[in-house]
Amino acid sequence: MLENTNVKTLDKVVVRFSGDSGDGMQLAGNIFTNVSAGLGNQVSTFPDYPAEIRAPQGSLGGVSGFQVSVGKGVHTPGDNCDVLISMNAAALKQNHRFLKPGGVIIVDIDSFRESDLKKAQYATDNPFEELGIKAQIVEVPVTSMTKAALADSGLDNKSVLKCRNIFALGLVCWLFDRPLDAALRHLHSKFAKKPAVYEANATVLRAGYDYGHNIHASVSTYRVETEDPKPGVYTDINGNTATAWGLVMASEKCGRPLFLGSYPITPATDILHELAKRKDLGVKACQMEDEIAGVCSAIGASFAGNLAVTSTSGPGLALKSEGIGLAVMAELPLVVIDVQRGGPSTGLPTKTEQTDLMQALYGRNGESPLAVVAPASPTDCFTMAFEACRIAVEHMTPVILLSDAFIGNGSSAWRVPEADEYPEIKTPDIPAEKLADHSWHAYDRRDNLGRYWPVGGTEGAAHRLGGLEKDAVTGAISNNPVNHEKMVMLRREKIARIADDIPELELLGDTDADTLLVGWGGTYGHLHSATEELNARGRKVALAHFRYINPLPKNTGEVLAQYKHIIVTELNTGMFADYLQCRYPDARISRINKIQGQPFAVSEIVDRVTKYMEED
């Protein structure tokens, strides 16, 4: 009975599922996340999977992880976990370092046979001692229990073994007091087309839960605090899906159909997957023959009058550079999504980094300014994808959205916006009188310096665009030196004026401080937590987190001038720090950098900021 168990009440708890990449850890983790979000917990996830699709079973290279933090005040998936589930010896070896002191490890002891230890390159026959693990270890015969639960199912051995992850999930559901009916509902929708597989998983889920119940004497259970969120309808969403949905919302708000030209690339492909499904909302998502065709088809679609997008990761952005330059020159709206990963070259395809900043800002020939924005969290991907579209259309420019693998794959609970929560996007249609008296030229500009954007087929608006420099007035090809300089400055000023149309920078934390922590994009959760932690320890630190990168918010200089010491924290060698320093040479900027393909740990930010402050 539960009342006999040792129940810990926690604000938030971190669980890490680890196993072979074929063990279904991502599925088990996702279901646990969704069930928790449904209970009113805040959630934040971090899938940490290998680049290899199926490395040899039981090997160190094939270990896949999924970390989730649930509870109250959750901004990140957590640095370390309270509970680690390791489905085999290799997973334990790769993941035990993520366990907090006092945490619990649950292992499938059936996967710690001599051969398993050998595959995971253990030197001795006692893996726990060898790894120096002092934590509470719960040895569960997951494999044999799963087999026993499904002895009468009629399923073959391979299909039975595929249910091991759900046994572990059942156990974790017991541990955290998660209702099984919600987990069953998720399993049902996952296996809707395979009733026998659903039945087997449902049986195993209950078996795992009951097993946990029966061994309660030896484990702590956790009661996790829930947040009182804003009323509304909620769903669990990852950053890539949020990005896709933000684009769809923008299409609804500007009245132009959404076109995606893309090419599969990790970790951005889920955006293509999601938009391919959204034919049910009229989206045309085309998988093209390469990255270049992805951006070029989008440029064609933009010229034809669609809201046009291409999605990619760093190597793909490199391939798209020339196309993006054409969109800069033709002054067409175009949204380019870069879900950043570790580089250079193929780099670390499944891991996160913020190393494409300079490529996004400057990676084209000639003077080719464009707008750059960066979402701060999985759910912010929705808002910033919408913003990228709004800026692209209203200012007639390509916009690069710098997401990353961490927030693209990570998920959070998200309140579905009401229909009127986002503004209308005003398409720059040619005024009727200009069409009527034929006085319109292709490079006529509005107050914000953006061109007009006729839909292909509009009578009276046939015009020619191209990559050659154009006369500022007539739009005809021009080699005139003075005209070229004028056009360069117009294109530059057009981007600068976007600053009038974006929110100012907001400060968090203890704003009455001397030290300002600065970040941008996907590191927000960690910086936010670190700031809270530092403030709680009595350190006076404020946080300025940038989501608008080019142009910067108008009050950036004013904000930076208020602080004696600015610490720019980012997952690269200091690109944003350099970018700020050259714009604000008087700012005293220090850096915290990490380039390991992994997100920051809150603790490392706290430690490094503390060190800087102590040196001050």
Partner: protein, 339 residues
């Protein structure tokens, strides 16, 4: 409804044409404007998209929607344009370098997808705008600035690429054959799906006379054959020669000689799905026994890409019936938080 007639002048922009005097491009531009007038599609219902190269300047001379893009990418840009706005008639203008070298990948994939665009491929077997380097259609051994000792590589034959990419429309003409050019451009536009029209074009500055062995007035009747669907495959000054089947191959014969009569001469069937004979016809080079084929060589109906995309969108929308993004999200896994 009042029928509106267009003249070639309706498709001309106010820009001065800047090609070299004597360049074959002038004739192709004029022919295209005539073909558009014949088709009767309004200039504002037409988009002309090009890459980079001499021929790719063409959109500036048209009074249509036009886009002079980047090197090699016209097919990808035209594909996006057509999918986004299927009501428009879309033309792509490319040269042999733009279309088959840097843009080779987009070219074959456009053809494979069968997106409804009309590709006019100006083939002058040279890079003109960069002043005279060999192109992917230059013959082995061709001497140019970048191959001073002759090339050591074999060329593409555009038709062969089109067939290799499972193309459904291929036609050929010569810049100076105005009537044939206009005829095949009209047929290309009327064909639903990717149409490729290769036009042998003379670069008067860097490769003058490259097509002369076939196109010279004195030899043209003997070295070319103009194919028309349903008509006998006849050529020669007095149509005294014809193509007959010889085993698996084609053979050129003189009617009345060696026992061949007009009844032996093949009748062109551009609409047969099997491309075996089309390919043989397209591969005749006019330099040996067999004449170079002009006219519409293959014109086979097949579902076009953008039609498929639009139909799928309509079907899925009708089936699922979501009115908005919010509607779609609310139909999935959600939970409600109340005050």
């Amino acid at each position: 409804m009042e029928e509106i007639h267009f003249t070639p002048a309706d498709y001309k922009s106010d820009q001065a044409v800047r090609w070299c005097p004597g360049c074959g491009d002038h004739a192709i531009l004029n022919t295209l404007q005539k073909a558009m007038a014949t088709l009767g599609i309004a200039p504002h219902r037409t988009a002309v998209i090009s890459g980079i190269g001499c021929s790719s300047r063409l959109p500036y001379y048209m009074n249509t929607y036009g886009f002079h893009t980047i090197h090699g990418r016209a097919a990808a840009i035209a594909t996006g344009y057509k999918v986004a706005n299927p009501e428009m008639t879309v033309w792509q203008i490319s040269g042999d370098g733009d279309g088959l070298a840097i843009g080779g990948n987009h070219f074959i994939h456009a053809v494979r997808r069968n997106v409804d665009i009309n590709i006019i491929l100006f083939n002058n077997k040279i890079y003109g705008l960069t002043k005279g380097q060999y192109s992917p259609t230059s013959a082995r051994g061709f001497v140019s600035k970048s191959s001073p000792y002759g090339t050591t590589e074999d060329p593409f034959i555009p038709a062969e690429l089109v067939f290799g990419a499972r193309g459904n429309f291929f036609a050929r003409s010569i810049d100076v054959e105005l009537a044939t050019s206009q005829e095949v451009m009209v047929a290309a536009a009327r064909h639903k799906g990717t149409s490729v029209v290769e036009i042998l074009q003379n670069c008067v500055i860097f490769n003058n006379g490259i097509h002369n062995p076939i196109t010279d007035r004195e030899v043209r009747a003997e070295r070319t054959i103009t194919l028309r669907h349903g008509e006998k495959m006849l050529f020669g000054a007095n149509k005294e020669r014809g193509l007959v089947q010889d085993g698996f191959l084609l053979k050129a014969v003189t009617i009345g000689e060696d026992g061949y009569t007009i009844d032996d001469v093949l009748v062109h069937d551009a609409h047969t799905p099997t491309n075996f004979l089309h390919q043989q016809l397209a591969m005749m080079d006019g330099l040996g026994e067999l004449p170079l084929a002009l006219g519409v060589i293959r014109d086979v109906e097949s579902p076009s890409y953008e039609e498929g995309v639009c139909r799928q969108v309509d079907e899925v929308r009708a089936r699922k019936g979501f009115s908005s993004l919010r509607d779609m999200i609310l139909a999935g896994d959600t939970w409600t938080v109340t005050d």
